[in-house]
Amino acid sequence: MDLIEIAFSAVRVSTPLVFAAMGGLLSYQAGMLNIALDGFMIIAAFAAIATAHFTGSLELAILVAVLGATMLSALLGVFTLKLNADVFIAGIAIIFMAYGLTALLLKGILGEDGVFMSSAIPRFPTLDLPVIESIPVVGGIVSGHTLLVYIAWLLVPLVAWCLYRTRWGLRVRMVGEAPEAAAAAGVNVDSIKFQTMLLSGVLCGFGGAYLSLAYVSLFANQMTAERGLIAIAAIFFAKGHPGWTALVALLFGLATALSVRLPQVTGAAPQLLQLIPYVVTVAALIIVGFRTARSRSKHGAWKFGWN
């Protein structure tokens, strides 16, 4: 078993998680628990594959995917910010709607049940990074990915910069922590929240397009496989900090890569090993739970269910 190969595939596998997590953490920082990341991604995955099938253009496919996911995020934004729906409940509705809509369109437009593949869809070219590819170990892990992988990882410092260095970032974080303070200071709270919601749509759009065009080259119903929820787990684990969130996403990617490789080596039941990423997720959430419970359980006041 080649460790470099596993690390390479961990980077590849965690890429959609990084896209979704970066999108989700923007709305998380603005004080919204956006659980609809899966819905945004599945729409994008479908839009990407359908566009690529009909036009043969990867650029156009990504564009349509991002547009589709952004429109869905705008819909969720309208539900929660304009119509005052609970973001959690509306998010669930959006996920179901996205799953149903893509399944319907899969049958209606592409004429398939369950899975769609097409020889008309071009492959994503891989990029060998000059200089870096010749570095031992690092080159084998970092070089030779598709463009979207690099975009995802470059997003991490970009998102961090936006959040912690710009005026917009200060407003986003203030809106998340103290919406009243932000409103009193003349910041349009709903507008900031809506912007982060749209951006999480944009980033999930990339994530979905990556899933169907680069990670594999097909569309399957519910192919996002709860990656959006895993991304949310990563955000919570890292308390919304971009760098740490990406690292946790990478850890999940590593767990997935292992679950794919280990059966070949160990001969254990693959079904069992495929549990690894989910076990890691549950473990991460248990750690988060303990971390928050620790400070209050020992000496804390009884909680009666308000704030």
Binding site: R165, T166, R167, W168, G169, L170, R171, R173, M174, E177, A178, E180, A181, A182, A183, A184, A185, G186, V187, S295, R296, K298, H299, G300, A301, W302, F304, W306
Partner: protein
Amino acid sequence: MSEPAPVIEMRNVVKRFGDFTAIHDANIDLRPGEIHALVGENGAGKSTLMNVLYGLLPRSGGEVLLRGEPVDYGSPNEAIAAGIGMVPQHFKLANSFTVAENIILGSEPTRGFNRLDRRRAAEETAEISRRFGLEVQPGDVVGDLAVGLRQQVEILKTLYRKAEVLIFDEPTAVLTPQETRELFNTMRNLAAAGNTIVFITHKLGEVLAVSDRISVMKQGRIVATLDNRDVTAQQIAALMVGRSVILRVDKAPPSELGAPLLRIRDLCARGERGEVAVDNLSLDVRAGEIVGLAGVQGNGQDELVECIAGLRRRASGDIEICGKPTGRTPGDNRDLGLAYVPADRAHVGLSLESGLWENLSIGHLESFRWGPFMRTGAARKRAGELIERFDVRGGEIDKFAGSLSGGNQQKVQIARELTRPAPLIIAEQPSQGVDIGAIESIHRILVEMRDAGRAVFVISADLDEIFSISDRILVIYRGRIVADLAAEDTDQEEVGRYMGGLEDRPRDGASPERTAHVG
């Protein structure tokens, strides 16, 4: 003396909420360089009137003139742009951010690509802070600051936006007397620089101490605007309430003291973030006395009371109620003889979504038990009697508790708690959000309870209240009792110094760095 042209005139301003008229034809003018006090009972419309001026509430009628020009602000942003600033009672600050970040929010200085210019933010913040003699450092994190300094951050926020009219909404409610005096100096400095200060309050002593003119509101009307010359607190109080009021409760000196009904020894407790909130605290409250616990909010009072009530686990130490160690749950402690009137009426004290009879019956359910059922008729009958006896205005037994005013909600809590056969009474902020007339009767009830031989422990951030009813005054500072004073031998100045930690006498074993700065 020629009167300067007013900066702001409000003419015949009306504000309606549905059928309810909160402001009737209010007329007020604010002059440059003056401190204008706006006084009135809770619910008289002071904050509503100022929220109309600040653009938070649209007005239903009348006009507002700014330097003679009619204006109509749809949002605080427009008011801020016109030079009106509000220092809110409940600070609107983000605690994990720095002073500078909180101040610049909404009008941030930037460099290219909308990057924050942190250095300029810090410099400008420090500059304004110096100019008006304030003490906050731009780089400090707001959550670490004392209440008085947080208020300065709010003041700086308005000044950073070039406010010339500053509205202070109940600014002294959370301050020590020393911090209050500093605030008044700041207000005078601001006024001397040509700004207009509006000072919303119901504390009459402060009104007389600092203001140039006084407008009195009653039931949505401005009933008088007076120059602060030859006016007395009694006159203003009479205008506010519409009848003369007694500002101090008449009470006989305490009779024979009985056994300690609340006995706390070496209590330690931690706050929400695991910090030491109550630190080796010991105290006694005896039958037949009213003990007042004074202190700036956030010095461990909440945690102390929660420990006594059984709502918080203590880290170490002993609490005895009526001579018996406290139990594990709030119910156990109540069975030992505790009556608890919490400060948080809306969440801990009452269920605002439930009827008055239900609120009055909970805690007394044993007496209405009939097997697994409840004798509703008897409970409702008793609720009706209590409403009558404790004079709950607007009280019908089926009305939601949330439909009552703060004072009447307080009476409902008190009626329920004090009719239990409980010798120990803990009253937390009993007059918070309660109008003057009701404060009087609440204090009277507490004194009656004392005279009936119960032990009364009052926790209040309001020194006027502490002084008007206590026989003995304890001061809590950073989780410890730093003073134990007989009420007749002390004054607000002295208690205030203890509250601010200025006369801190650490007991043996207390580490010296705890006393290093006021918190």
